[in-house]
Symmetry: C2
Subunit: 309 residues, 2 copies
Amino acid sequence: MNSPQETKVCVIGLGSMGFGMAESLLRDGFAVTGVDVNSDAMERFEALGGAVAADPAAGARDAELVIAVVVNSGQTEEVLFGATGAVAAMSEGGVVMSCATMSPDLARAFAARCAELGVEYLDTPISGGALRAASGELTIMGSGPSSVFARIRPALNSIAATVYELGEEAGTGAAFKVVNQLLAGVHIAAACEAITFAKAMDLDLEKVYEVITASAGNSWMFENRVPHVLEGDYSPRSAVDIFTKDLGIVTDIGRSMKFPTPIAGMALQLFVMTAAAGMGRDDDASVARMLANIAGLDLPKAASPASEG
Amino acid sequence: MNSPQETKVCVIGLGSMGFGMAESLLRDGFAVTGVDVNSDAMERFEALGGAVAADPAAGARDAELVIAVVVNSGQTEEVLFGATGAVAAMSEGGVVMSCATMSPDLARAFAARCAELGVEYLDTPISGGALRAASGELTIMGSGPSSVFARIRPALNSIAATVYELGEEAGTGAAFKVVNQLLAGVHIAAACEAITFAKAMDLDLEKVYEVITASAGNSWMFENRVPHVLEGDYSPRSAVDIFTKDLGIVTDIGRSMKFPTPIAGMALQLFVMTAAAGMGRDDDASVARMLANIAGLDLPKAASPASEG
């Protein structure tokens, strides 16, 4: 990769993660083209000085690196290989980074299709949330040829604080991400179950947060999500629907491998229940609201009713 | 409380936690009498310079403070109120600390029975494990009259790094501990499910540990227990049976309050399955062995076959 100024990068998907990544690249001097079906996001990106393109093929035409940051494997397939997909428009030797959480089998299949078209594929699921995307401090659980990682290192440095290179083949990064999502999803559901259980026992929830975060019952997710419950703020930092999807991937993989994932399966059902209760697009801490609603418990309310979701 | 040298403390239950607590008190100069049904533990305690007594009543006779560190509420009832129980033998105004995990209702009932006999009761579940018990750095999730906590402060300082005073009434400490155990038990089961799921996907488990402990999927228990799996060492630091008990308390409370605890209920079943497979007295990370056995996966083996359990 040449200097950032001479390196064209196309970011497909300007949602909360993709927008932050595109912003980080722009800040570091890369020539970034953004693509999204949402014209508001494209306008916001242009206002920052970015270029935009009408579809993935148009955005990818001259790009050395295409980063697909869409919601799931279906959208990834569409933006890479669909009628106006990026890969057919790319020059030979171009690099695709695929960031959506998906099964290892699909990541391998996408890599094979890229190879047929002379394009390099890196399996690069991301972790860290919107704030860290905006500050260029994501974690990437990556796999693919180390020579290709080396080639796009300047762009990786721009978007990520930590880049794990977990193997030479696509699929390994995806598998690590899926293990992380199993734990993350279970821990969110468990945090919501525990804090509402504490409410049912009439405990001081602020005190519960203080004690648990200093004890062996703590998790990254308990520490991160329970404040949403304490503030009664269910505006989506990460939505319930993300985990109905990701724990669905976990349990689908388990079923296809004939490996039992009972805890993930139960956590999935709690996210499905929460989505069924109309909170699929709200913050994933809404699992607590769902349980409190069932049991008639009064969790804290937000200061402003507008953010109660 | 006078100087440690003039303060008689009786520790009932010289298991991994109680022994460490008795040892910490002894080190700080308290006059400590140990009581246990296991004569080996009593001999080891005498070898350190401690006194021993044949039963709780004998040990508690002159004690200003009696600390019950037995496995469950049944044993607590027996050592406090049984035929040779401690409380009837204590002087008026003596203090009982009760450390076993139990339901808030039972803690309140034990406090009421102590009050009838003129003895103060502190609801003081402990957390931190055997190593921190031995170094005097436990966490106490306590409740009871603050004046009584103040009176035994020198002893509390000897055994604990952190003492939460969570309310003036017995039961509140118990409830906080139960919330902690809900999360701790779920996180152990989830850690075991995740690491064996990673094995089923043929990932490098050492690498999984490195990546997850730096990611949003981390928990205190993942970080603490997965090394047992990586080392293939299932010698009990904390046994499977502890969590069949503690998650049983959680789900019993939930059922009696009519509050659903589906994740805790599923985690409980995994501990029961592991106990059913003959591993109840092994380390609680054995949930991973149980899942691996079902699926025919080869988890790491210990260097020495003797510690494989």
